[in-house]
Amino acid sequence: MRRANRKDEQELANDGLTYPDTEYFCKTRPVPVGPQFKAMEAVRNWARANSLAVQAFGTGCGAVELRPLMTARYDAYRYGITGSPTPRQSCVFVIGGYASVKTLKRIVVSYEQMQNPKFVVALGSCTVNGGMYWDSYNTINRIDHYIPVDLYVSGCMPRPEALLAGFVKLKELIKAGKCEGANRYIENLDWYKANQKRVIKNWNMPDYNW
């Protein structure tokens, strides 16, 4: 992974903030994080894959599929998947179906507040191409234009089994070192920000929510 050169590192504009808030948020641009020790990376990825903490943020109707996952019937704990209450304590963000523009703003805030390593699972056809809400005035079509997606689970709605299969696949991808969505987001931050600001008209938050 490339570490951004000190010289070409620009500051974030933070245009949306007004006076008291401008003092509370820093303008430093986030940098991609590479492996600390190359030799250890396989072991670390194995460890990451086996302790997935899913953020408790239900967006859209897919959120109802997350609840049965934690119950005895589907029991996601078998796979080392657990829930976590806040963005900062979690590493998997499940986008549960359609995202309205109002929700997208909260998705961006929560996603940026999550600590590395972080992975995004997009659930349902609404996240792929808008699904049945593809011509709605308030529902975004492709979630991967706003935050990076590591894995899609298609269907409307996917059954909990499909989501479990998705988690198994996600673990394979993590172990193979292919879940670099967080770094992709930082490297293409300007593109993602331009897309986000195009739909979120009242941008009144910092350009990166540390």
């Binding site: 523009v101 109002k102 005035y137």
Partner: protein
């Protein structure tokens, strides 16, 4: 419910009574008398519950039809009050003093249809659409599909088929068989 309508007719300029079910009726009233009628229904006829309050866009007639749905717990009757207001300069008397929750419906109507309710609390705050700068999206002249295609990066390659022709091709590939 017919008796109720006759009682109301003596007092208000109510018209177009239409009974859809034994316990569900609709009537129309001009805009200026609507609030008085609704207040009368609540205080003297037992229609104490505001079920919902919404609008329908009749763009052909140039009106928004407001629908006040009221329920009487004593007789289990539901009465819909229709009020037509002009689409241009759409303004209506607020009923948030009769039911506090009507303020929330009025915020929604202001945002989705652009109908103004002077005096209603927090009317200009964003409700669902944050920072919306187009015409209100539930107005029928708003082209939601064109807006979505211009704004939300539609995925290429999305095709749409008419279910009727699609199924006919699937079931009867040979047109002569039909």
């Amino acid at each position: 419910m017919k008796e109720l309508f006759e009682r109301l007719q003596a007092l208000f300029a109510v018209t177009d009574f239409h009974q859809q079910r034994a316990d569900l009726g609709f009537l129309s009233i001009p805009k200026d008398h609507a609030e008085m009628l609704i207040r009368h229904l609540r205080d003297h006829e037992g229609f104490t519950h505001l079920v919902f309050f919404t609008a329908v866009d009749y763009i052909e007639d140039g009106v928004f039809r407001l629908v006040y749905m009221l329920h009487n717990y004593g007789t289990k009757d539901t009465l819909g009050v229709h009020v037509d207001i002009s689409r241009e300069n759409a303004t209506m008397t607020s009923i948030h003093e009769l039911w506090e929750q009507a303020g929330l419906y009025q915020r929604e109507l202001k945002e989705m249809f652009g109908i103004d309710f002077p005096g209603s609390p927090r009317l200009d705050e964003d409700f669902l659409l944050e920072g919306w700068d187009e015409i209100p999206p539930m107005r029928r002249e708003f082209d939601t599909r064109a807006y979505a295609e211009a704004t939300f990066f539609p995925r290429e390659g999305r095709t749409k088929s008419d279910p009727r022709t699609h199924m006919r091709e699937q079931l009867y590939p040979d047109p002569d068989q039909e």
